[in-house]
Symmetry: C2
Subunit: 450 residues, 2 copies
């Protein structure tokens, strides 16, 4: 059952392409799901991919194109004429069609749209192009099944036979009034179970969930996963039914969101993948590394001035700075990550003060346990009680402060409407490195009395 992309399959396809053996190639590829063909194309040369795309029917190739890696799709589309792209778009649902057009360079968009023959499809795509990508309007498709409240079950069945042909998955049937305002919904099951002379208005459920066309995509994802919805209708401010969003689009939103947060925590901006070019990866990684470098230089400058004021025997303090910095960084990342995740899942309620108090207790507990261990090590190493005490006491202080900073910054950013995910990773580790080293050296100086 399960498709496994093997070198043999790729070799076979390459051989058939180079031999121009179209009939056999078509025969081989017809066996595969479009998502599998996309995987094969991801491994082929650009020319070979274009060969396959031009060979197969646009009904299949439009789906293949949507499954390709974005950069490969871009290159393939560059090699197709506006008319050829328009043919692919005729086969796509309106939401995918609009997404594909959005990826084209602006000067080609108009040309491709003017080549779409189906006027209704064209108008619907143009409507969708007007919405912001990150809103419900940017996610929704125009394909849906709609019935009027005044119809009977039998009349409805007859009529939706026509509509349903254009809709891959029916999910819900939406009930509207004469003004096209959404007033309820039905499932196909309800329709099948109902008697044929019943009025739609009598069997429709009127507690229909919906979202506004301008709602944020992430909020739509939250609503759909909270209420376990597989499709949700989209309306405008007048409650007019405009389109619907299906769960597969939401799965993509959730995945992108999780990927983005994960990358930010690791110090990677922009949406990059392991297979992107070295230049793209550098652009995503270098700024954060640069932040780390500046932080490191800051730490150096601080230590430089402390060093000037310390006696020679205190040099051993400097040998512990990487430990202190690492602990400050680790605690900061832990506490910020748990807050960022809680905010993303809407789990974080209550006041900031309570959070900070809790984190302080947590950090104090962790800090004391770790410090006892560090105290024993330093004392065993140097037989110097004051030194062991000053290093381990500062570790507790550093851990508490690092935990508080890690908790406060994402909460603060979130209140200000900034994505708290940027607070995790290099941002927190760098600032905590510096705070940690300052606190450490100050406390050590105090205890050692130098």
């Amino acid at each position: 059952m399960k498709f496994q992309l093997t070198d043999e399959i790729i070799e076979q396809v390459e051989l058939l392409i180079s031999g121009n053996n179209d009939k056999e190639l078509k025969h081989v590829l017809d066996e595969f799901h479009y998502a599998d063909i996309a995987e094969i194309l991801d491994e082929l040369d650009l020319e070979q991919s274009i060969y396959v795309i031009k060979l197969l029917d646009s009904e299949t190739t439009s789906d293949i194109l949507m499954e390709l890696d974005e950069d490969i799709r871009e290159k393939v589309l560059q090699n197709l004429s506006a008319k050829e792209i328009a043919e692919e778009i005729e086969e796509l649902d309106t939401d995918d069609a609009a997404d594909m057009i959005m990826e084209l360079p602006e000067e080609r968009q108009e040309e491709v749209i003017s080549n779409i023959e189906d006027e209704e499809h064209k108008a619907e795509i143009e409507e969708l192009l007007a919405y912001d990508e990150d809103t419900a309007g940017g996610l929704m498709a125009k394909e849906l099944v709609k019935v009027y409240e005044t119809w009977t079950v039998a009349g409805c069945m007859r009529r939706i036979r026509g509509q349903a042909k254009d809709v891959t998955r029916v999910h819900s049937i939406y009930v509207v009034d004469k003004q096209e305002k959404l007033i309820g919904r039905l499932s196909l099951k309800d329709l099948i179970v109902a008697k044929s002379d019943q009025k739609i208005a009598d069997i429709a459920k009127d507690n229909v969930d919906f979202v506004n066309v301008n709602d944020d995509a992430e909020d739509v994802a939250k609503v759909m996963s909270k209420y376990d919805l597989e499709a949700i209708p989209v309306v405008d401010d007048e409650q007019t039914l405009l389109g619907r969003i299906t769960i597969d689009d939401i799965v993509d939103v959730l995945k992108e969101e999780a990927d983005k947060d994960y990358q930010l925590a690791a110090g990677i901006t922009q949406d990059v993948e392991a297979d992107d070019s070295i230049l793209e990866l550098t652009r995503a990684r270098l700024p954060w590394l640069f932040l780390g470098l500046v932080g490191g230089i800051g730490a150096f400058i601080i230590m430089y001035y402390f060093e000037g004021s310390l006696p020679e025997e205190a040099i051993i303090l400097f040998l512990f700075t990487p430990l202190i910095a690492a602990m400050a960084g680790n605690v900061g990342v832990q506490s910020s990550a748990i807050i960022v995740q809680g905010l993303a899942n809407d789990d974080v309620k209550g006041s900031i003060n309570n959070r900070l108090i809790k984190e302080m207790l947590l950090a104090a507990l962790n800090g004391v346990i770790l410090s006892v261990f560090l105290f024993l090590f330093v004392y065993a190493w140097e037989f110097d009680l004051k030194l062991a005490l000053s290093i381990s006491v500062s570790l507790v202080a550093v851990i508490i402060i690092a935990g508080l900073i890690g908790t406060f910054i994402p909460l603060f950013l979130d209140k200000r409407g900034v994505d708290p995910a940027i607070a995790t990773g290099p941002f927190i580790t760098t600032s905590n490195d510096i705070f940690g080293i300052v606190i450490y050296l100050m406390i050590a100086k105090l205890i050692l009395g130098i």
Copy 2:
């Protein structure tokens, strides 16, 4: 439309509970979706929550219970009798029912099961309990709509009216042969569009996707999201239809997986939330901090021995160790995160060697850019060409090695069948701290000729 949990709502509910005003309380809560009621209960005391659960019909409360935070659900269930829990379970779909029973202490499980009155439901739940949580069997539900290939469309419609009542969402209708083996599928739409005297065998699609009951849950999630499936049937080795998995369960698997990876990258084991107790949070965070502490002590020991062999003027080298350690850690996390994410999305193909060469080039590019900057800073600060050179050359070396370690370790773990996500975060930063400091001091010694 959208539900907003306000203090007023909670106060109102609390007031009605304390006044034993059952009728009004029921009336108020009936207005809300069960997912919203679960949110309200998450904010109430345990006694208040139990009051509400005992008040409402088990049809609603079973759904509310499934939406509650896991630890609150556990406490509520502790306060219900085996019979009461069995009543909740009668209302749940088999997959949720099995999940709820699995959460009970072992000694209660038997008691609750024996209290389930519906014998068929009981048998199905017992079947599901036998499967491993992380397999297709652990995800699937027994509820589905099944037809035999020999039926006609009209006969089929008549018969599935009965079956469909038990199934919240029909998705696909599965076609089986006389031996109950899965041989095809149909959508309700196909059935509505077909003529009533057609045979099921003639209109069924025979290229039905399915998974084996022992397949890994993560693999099921990958198959369903790759092929954009909203439900997938589950079969045994003989192709007998056993159950089906729906997209909402997969959304949960994907979310849990993403949360787990994110937490591991931040140095948090176990599945904890911001609202968990300080002890639970400590258990999840302390081991990683301890790893960092041990690493820091390792770094101290290394620096201690280097210090013994260095002349006094070389003390300035130690002031740069936090910078070197931070850069090694940041680069390591970046490269491991991108590999871990690529592996999770099945994006990482090709040989390990190619990956390592690419990462080396990438790290070299980043390293050189950053080192030029560091060189200028150190030279401007100390007017010492050799010192500036030795620090910046080692930074390039450290960044390259850190990138290679960050790339290699997750790939290596993945090949060995270990979850590569544990390689990100503290694990990588700690080992890179140590490697980084060793490489740095060695190169500096070499260039400075001391």
